[in-house]
Symmetry: C4
Subunit: 257 residues, 4 copies
């Protein structure tokens, strides 16, 4: 495979000003958890598969020991009154240039389906183990802020300070050249582990925005498992602090390890 | 050399639905040990040599202090009733894109020879010094599982959990686009050193599948040398544990270092 | 975006033998601080925007939570009797080849505007926390040295010993092929943090060379903040040395950490 | 600069079956020291300059604070009865593919000048601080061994065990495709520092092979400086060993650090 390969699985699919949700692997896998969950819950239909020499040279193995090449895919489903287009998948680009090439390709496909708005979904690392039920936003058009705030998205000046790296940021930046409105919604997350709790925070915002109900039972189950792990970690931390009583209590693990 | 170079050494070679065995350097060099051993034992004939700017910029030196550029090669031999095609060599790609380009080239060549089935051979790292005589499999077509199990291959749900990286995985993924059946056979190995013992486990499975005898004397000799090294390592570990009697005995070295 | 994209924002702008100042992120962000400061102070006009797949795949977020793709831009302003062309921006290339490609593009644009001379601005790491009000120079034409020395630039044989890496160096090297005179001016800086003090040293030299006054109030404010941080760091160092009275006092932090 | 640039400085230079000596930066800078020394001593004439986006994006600064872009160059000189072609320079490729591309270009140029034989010069790291006056060889044609041994080159089975990486190895490997005889001559060196002593060992072999005298005064001076540094290092080591009398004396520093 010398160049990126686009497999069109369904032809002549017409969507009505669809909203694109992007959820690829990233901080806390928050974006991926959300979009994978919507694909499953709404039984979204796969439209397009993308393979690329910019992805890591890897296959994944399923429960039947059957492999498939890493790929990203577009799905569609009806959610309330909205047609959704969903970009889900296994990996982001492994090279700098590949990021730009692939995001432009994603936007080409989005435009073909007449996408009217893009939400890229991700996690924002806080370095704190305690869950904070908060979704932070960034936009490529300041006019989007007011409406997003109504649905509970928080905006902070110049945040994230380090910018937004990868597909979540690049899709916003590159869609400016195409006059497509786009926002990045980031669930706050520790940054240390997969975070289904933060994914639920994001889904709450999306539910409000899209005026739909999204069953989060499955995510809730996974969240409870993670909570046990986190509780253990915090116990250990407290014990360590009791053994070193003269150090300032430090709730911020970001700089540990 | 600005692009990959394919040296056809023999013309007009016709093979009868050959089976391709792929064994390039990787975990424990298990796959390479097996295919190099078959090339030698069956005096396989070299058909094609491949040089590529995606390989590390390196020459290897032989016993006569003579160098050769790193390369991968296709060989053929008769093994029982089967025509074998063998992909052996010095290196995998040093770049992400090179992996995809080269694996596609390998499949082009395989198709020219009419390959009917592909087995990529590798090692699966257990993190345990103790040898386990086990071969794990993954397939690109679930229909292959039953037959492989008859020959002693073990299949585990979603294993390897991290997928399969490099030529062993990519050949399976990319051959799906060409409707060629392919399986990856992984000898369990510590992951810390070259493992001729694990190579023998793989050869046992191959012997059964291909209904041939493969003399493993040479591998057995190398395995005995490795066993001495492993025994030394395990002695040291035991001594360390006796000196730290309050730590839980931990047979898993994977996370050490 | 498969290739670098040049956005011409103003057409038919004619400049009179402009001097190009280059200030992109680098050691102590000294060059970037200076050129960004001139762009703001002189209300320079943006002429050209450059986006490139060689830049890191990143967007930056402003005070209104609005993103923009990382880019570099050419600005122009009148400063005293001189037309200035300014190259400012967010990032240098993330790849080796991208550095060469982009610097050549910058020089193409510079030539279109009839640039007569280039100054690349950067920092020279001393490894010393104490500020040294000194600007070191390197040139692509030995005839430039005498004049620069008059304006306070210091030249040292074979310094910097490791050469000059990135846009500050490459612009000098590549402009030799175009017979454009160019010098690199490096403010001495610790190398550990953003250094507005060193930026002021550079501005002093530029003011003298261009015969203009540049208000440095804003930089002075930021410098005072940094000074507090540095003072703290030096206190800590002194305390550590008092606790280890037998070690030689070492004012050079370069090899620490 | 989007592609490699070849500057022909002298036209219509005819050489008589020249021998190519290659000495670029590498282990102990041994090869570079030798070829740079010959260029200077024999006042070799520069024929061709090569610039490339595969080189690190860097300029070097000379004693007059004047920069030049990193490059490699071909020189020629008469040495005894031989026309010599010399490849000297600042850097090897910074990318995998660049190594292959550049070495092929070097061979194109070598062929244009009618090169009859190639010697790539480098260092072989021993991990030992003690100097060993020995030059090890590897060839691309076994027929070269006997003659090289007469001039004092040592050959060892399968050495170097890790092959030869970079231009010294690749030139041998790639010249096989062009039927040019080539040998790599490696001065033994610690591998920890620039080694003018090892360069002298190489020059002794070259002098014998080319039947010329090469004044090594300059290298001798530098060698004496390095010897002082080495003596200091060895003193320190001995002191450390006396303070830890129960450890086995280990003259091999290779695995330290």
């Amino acid at each position: 495979m010398q160049s990126t390969k686009v497999n069109q699985l369904k032809k002549d699919v017409k969507l009505d000003n669809p909203i694109l949700l992007v959820g690829l692997p990233g901080v806390g896998h928050v974006g991926k958890l959300v979009v994978d969950h919507i694909v499953e819950t709404f039984e979204a239909e796969k439209l397009v598969e993308i393979f690329s020499p910019s992805f890591p040279p890897q296959v994944l193995v399923d429960e039947k020991s059957t492999v498939r090449l890493v790929s990203n895919s577009f799905y569609t489903c009806k959610a309330g009154n909205h047609d959704l287009l969903l970009l889900a998948g296994d990996q982001q680009s492994a090279t700098t240039e590949g990021h730009y090439e692939l995001c432009d390709l994603y936007l080409d496909i989005a435009e073909e389906y007449g996408v009217s708005k893009i939400y890229t979904l991700g996690g924002f690392p806080t370095g704190q183990l305690e869950h904070k039920d908060e979704v932070m936003g960034a936009v490529n058009n300041v006019g989007l802020v007011e409406d997003l705030e109504k649905h509970g998205v928080i905006f902070k000046e110049n945040e994230p300070g380090g910018g937004i790296v990868g597909v979540s940021g690049l899709m916003l930046g590159l869609s400016q050249f195409r006059d497509i409105d786009a926002a990045c919604l980031m669930g706050l997350t520790s940054g240390y582990m997969v975070d289904p709790k933060s994914a639920q925070s994001l889904i709450k915002v999306l539910s409000s925005m899209l005026e739909i109900e999204i069953d989060v039972n499955e995510l809730e189950k996974r969240a409870r498992e993670m909570e046990k792990i986190v509780a253990n970690l915090m116990d250990q931390k407290q014990q360590q602090q009791q053994m070193l009583p003269d150090t300032t209590p430090d709730e911020d693990l970001r700089y540990i390890g």
